[in-house]
Symmetry: C2
Subunit: 232 residues, 2 copies
DNA sequence: CTATTTTGGTGAACACTGTTCACTTTTTGA
DNA sequence: TCAAAAAGTGAACAGTGTTCACCAAAATAG
């Protein structure tokens, strides 16, 4: 069955991929508009003029299909952030850009981002995930996103703008929590920004504002302000 | 039909409330264990020895029932935070306690908290929510939670520990995002804390750590450290 | 106390859903 | 050319939320 060189694209394979992509494209369209509950295998099959059972020749289950949508979305998000994190600019601008692109690409596809963090692991799954190595973790998309943050923290510490007494992993987790929370808050509760007679600003402005506050929390503390540093 | 004083509890009403509470209790148990997808009207009816259609004499739909579960959970959460925010302690400890109790009560019932922020509003819903007043907003549970944060920020500013140039609303939103994100990160990705040869600490310790970092981001800036304050 | 109306509860049905499986048609590879 | 593998299908299964006609019991009115 396997050919001379493994990457050969027989016409059959090409056709198969085409159908697969058609399924994914329709699913993507559906899911982006109506979310997980709005994505139905039967409607999806109807959309691309196939029978529902045909889908199962390409995806083992609806869950598997959804997993692929979510994964490819998160990898796109990761690429975006990776790009701006590798740009050569002022450190503060670059760090802020990481936050803003993370949040804006997340909110641009609310269903995707929310679904990417939707599973509540059962105790058994939790026990399994407990013993997975750091290497295995940063091999995943989420792990790579986390690694970008860790590197960013370490760079900030090396540049003398971040507190060197902070554990980079903890700091990175703190940053991630702040970004994650803002993105989801904007997705699920998009009313807070200018609910009052204050000068209305755009969402993007607030994200940058939030990013600056988050970074201030990691900055080197003032000489003797109060006894308010996180104790190790 | 209406009696002399509106609060009269006829035996019928009492019986009805009893059944209603039984439904809610079973639903609560089911939902806490298996989440929204695991809560089935039919299984729920079977659990309390009623027919599925009986449920609809007490709740208009599954959505309505779920709404009640989520709302009552969030009000419990609000109560917890309200209590510790009203305690008379050192400001830093109190603020930190607000964050830690918020996050820990959220993670104690992961399905509830996640579901409380699960709806992605459609553009139409968004347009409706756009013109709702500040008064209407802080009448809701979420609004009250937000108000606690705003008050906390203003108190911190009055005490001179928070930067007075910060808009209390924006600062409160920033704090909320950070808490919300940490809670959801711990719910959906409970692997980050000590994934490495670093001294393993408990989740609670990290939440407090995070709280301190968040508060540091709102503290009065050092004299002339860098040009890293959020510009208004 | 009786008659009437309202309430609580049920079973069957409707319109969905994801998924499986026996089956046919098409395509591929030797 | 022929057998084997792949692609695709319709019907069925086991679920789901929800509705509705119907019935019995309780509350209410005369």
């Amino acid at each position: 069955m396997d050919s001379d060189y493994p990457l050969e694209q027989t016409p059959a394979r090409r056709r198969r991929n085409k159908v697969r992509e058609a399924i994914l494209a329709a699913a993507e369209r559906m899911f982006a508009k109506e979310g997980e509950s709005g994505l139905s295998i039967r409607r999806l099959a109807e959309e691309i003029d196939y029978s529902p059972s045909a889908i199962y020749k390409y995806f083992g289950s609806k869950e598997e299909l959804l997993e692929e949508l979510k994964d490819s979305f998160f990898e796109r998000l990761l690429d975006q952030v990776d790009r701006v994190s590798a740009a050569s600019r002022d450190f503060h601008d670059r760090a802020r850009a990481c936050v803003t692109t993370y949040v804006s690409t997340a909110t641009a596809r609310p269903h995707h981002y929310a679904a990417a963090f939707s599973s509540v692991p059962t105790p058994e799954e939790l026990a399994i995930r407990q013993h997975l190595s750091w290497e295995d973790f940063i091999a995943t998309s989420k792990g790579q996103a986390f690694k970008i943050l860790v590197d960013l923290v370490e760079e900030g510490q090396a540049l003398g703008v971040f507190d060197t007494t902070l554990d980079p992993l903890k700091a990175a987790k703190s940053i991630w929590a702040s970004c994650h929370g803002l993105a989801l808050l904007m997705i699920h509760m998009p009313i807070l920004p200018d609910v009052q007679p204050c000068p209305a600003q755009s969402d993007d402005d607030f994200v940058a504002y939030h990013a600056d506050i988050v970074m201030r929390g990691l900055a080197v503390p003032a000489e003797t302000p109060h006894k308010n540093g996180p104790q190790s």
